[in-house]
Amino acid sequence: MGADKKMIIQINRNDIAIPERSTGMNLLTFLREELRLTGVKIGCGKGFCGSCTILVDHKPAKACQKTVVDIAGSSVLTIEGMANPDGTLHPLQQAFIDAGAIQCGYCTPGMVLTAHGYLMRNPNPTREQIKRAMAPNLCRCTGYQQIFEAIETAAEHYHL
């Protein structure tokens, strides 16, 4: 990549030109500090807790484990891009609220995005499949039960 060229990443449906100096940055730091996308949370910094989960080309990824250059040319979704532009919630987000799946809310962005990525691939999951899909994401408040219920409720919205 030439010194004058800029890397393009699509983040939350907007094309973002990445300055050369930022390409080597930790992706989590870049999203939070350069783009102020603070819905990407830091829980452990080592990829163990899933609080920083984002979707890269529709697949869950832990932002703390990537550098900016890793996602060159990709499309990224963070929690800030999940709702509709008019502020109305995606059905999965609404299902999280309705099911009581949110307490302290710190794991919520990562949980929603992991579930979103999974439901796009499998809109008819069993409870066991949901449990396995959500295994990368830790929650200390809810015991996960209402998170599973939210995902089950929202699944029908992913049917084509």
Binding site: G39, K41, L89, I97, G100, R140, C141
Partner: protein, 750 residues
Amino acid sequence: MEKTWRNDAYAKVTGQALYTNDLAFPDMLHAVPVYADYVHAIIDQIHIQDAEDLDGVVKVITSQDIPGSNRHGQIEKDYRIFADDKIRYWGDVVALVVARDRKTAIEAAELVKVEATPLPSIHDPEAALKPDAILIHEEHGSNIINTHRIRRGDIEKGFDASDIIIEHKFQTQFVEHAYLEPEAALAVPRADGVIEIHGSMQHPFSTRRFTAALLGMRLSDVEVVGTPMGGGFGGKDDTAAVVCARTALAAKLLGKPVKVNYDREWSIRESYKRHPYRVTYKMGLSSDGLIKAVRCEIIADGGAYCSTTPWVTWRSTVQCCGPYQVDHVHCDTVGVYTNNVFTGAMRGFGSPQMNFVVEQMVELAAEKVGMSAVELRRKNMVQQGSATITGQVLDNHTVSMGEVLNAVIEDIDYDEKLKQCSFGKPEGDELYGIGLAMSYRGMSLGAEGADFCAAIINAQFDGSILLEVGIHENGQGAESAFILALAAELGVNRERIRYRQSSTSSIPDSGTTVASRGTLMGTGAVVRAADEFKKKMSQVVAPSLKCNPEEVHFKDDRLHGGQSDHSISFDRAIRVMYLNRKFPFAFGEFQGPSVTWDEKQGRGKPYFTWVYGCQAIELTVNKQTGRVKLLNAIAAHDVGRVVNPGMLNGQIYGGIAMGSGYALSEEVQLDAGKITNLNLNNYRILRSTDVPEMKAIVIENRDPNSPFGAKGIGEPTNEIMAPAIANAVYRATGKRFFNLPIKIDAQNGS
């Protein structure tokens, strides 16, 4: 299923909620703590020059820079906010490096060198009790933090009258709270001279108190502002408050906003844990299964500092016989200083350890007696009007021990499933077991401390309402609960109520948001404020409703006259108030009913009311791998009155999960005082693939001691999982486990 509502859910599910580390101010500096690689040592010198010389470093703060008091502690002021004389545990902080950016601060922290003379260290609480043991706090005179006791009846007579006597030793582990958001603080020096603090802590008022003391300022000079918080579970009390205080000191000294955000490793290294207990428990019973006598010795490892050890161990002492009536009790409890990580409040607060003991002891006893463990529980458990082991007569609320036990047994078909338990029988690899445990729990602080709470209702000209309560939103949904309670009291739609961002400067100190007291105390204050508010409105509108003020009632967003058909909308009534120059404003306070305690005999009325809960679990143990799989969990709790059903269930499910981790996987490992599992890969809380299917059964016996009728639920759900699992593991494997976490060897399922 009814949809759950939370006032902060939209912000949290869209990523808009700003937690402490998400906030930024112009010219903000970043700070990080500095630890020394010692567990017990005399500090000779702290070298900060190399760190201060690093480009980008603004200042390295040590105990030399403190304008106020360095000594801190909720009970004993034995903790130094910056270690000065000694290092007492591996998590002591010797300095705070402040730099223009966090990366530089971390780099500079490596350059701070601590010169120290190592001392022998103690990591075994029983060794710390020996007369020749080195003292952790010389000025304290011994390594005993505190003692408690119960002397009831005549213990020797009790054992003499017993036909069966059993005795066992139990041991529990250090446990990390593992809130998903590590400690964070942001302090801003304001133009009016106030230091404003945004922080991840569950006790804004003590944070303010400690900060003011450290800075040598008055309480009114420090304002702690409510900020979304990523979990606490009792763990964001001392340490989190101290992190805020250190940050405030940096902001005060440098005149700029300063932010501290902990790495997970620092959080686990520095923050206090759940107490490990060693318990020797002797129980005597008559041949027909009546518990005659209990002798119990409890040793709690308090680690390097006192923190809340005297209160935690007090609850253990008061509840040392579980929910059972025992005439002869002799209990001695001691909290001990060691050079381990210090221990303090964690969800359950001294009860999970004791329930692990008691709820296995009753099952061991039942087997000896030759009756079912459920029958033995029924025979001995507290009933309406029973006296507890401290002499408190349970007659001021509904004693529902039997009700919750029956609910669980019926729902899970307990008796039938007991017959299916494997007891280690060699049929197939998966051994099946079911187990249950139950408890009663004294609500709120009890005789630990002053128990009162304030609420403020401030209605605006357009009929919208601002509500504030002196209880903190830890993530549990406290604000939503108070909005719902106020909506019920005023007969209005919750949409018109907004929770005002809380601040220690706008409402009186209402104590800590701990001890499952938030809902009880907070809704109590809301009811008192609502009563006052309604009285004021009724006086103004009664004439137009053609009734007496006492006859006005509030329903469907309207005020209605007594027998008359007259009514007026809430909006209009508020306008009438303002036009009559009467503020629709009310302050309410709820005082916890009185409690008593005689420390010498361990007698009195320690808590003004109690809650009752029972939980059961089905599981399998793989004979080859020793792996436990949790299948189904059922919990029944008497919560007094439901406020927010979805959040209530969430407390129950969350407690089941956390309690299951306590039973099976969670253990902070120390190697001569140094924690070896500092992140969430090797400190293992339950993942989604580990949790059982869960069911919550909610029982509502409104409590007359609670103005809204509601009681607490946060802790009861967490405190009985470990014994339920231990009992189930026993029925699967045929082996009893007396230590936590339960470790089952591979191959033999034992």
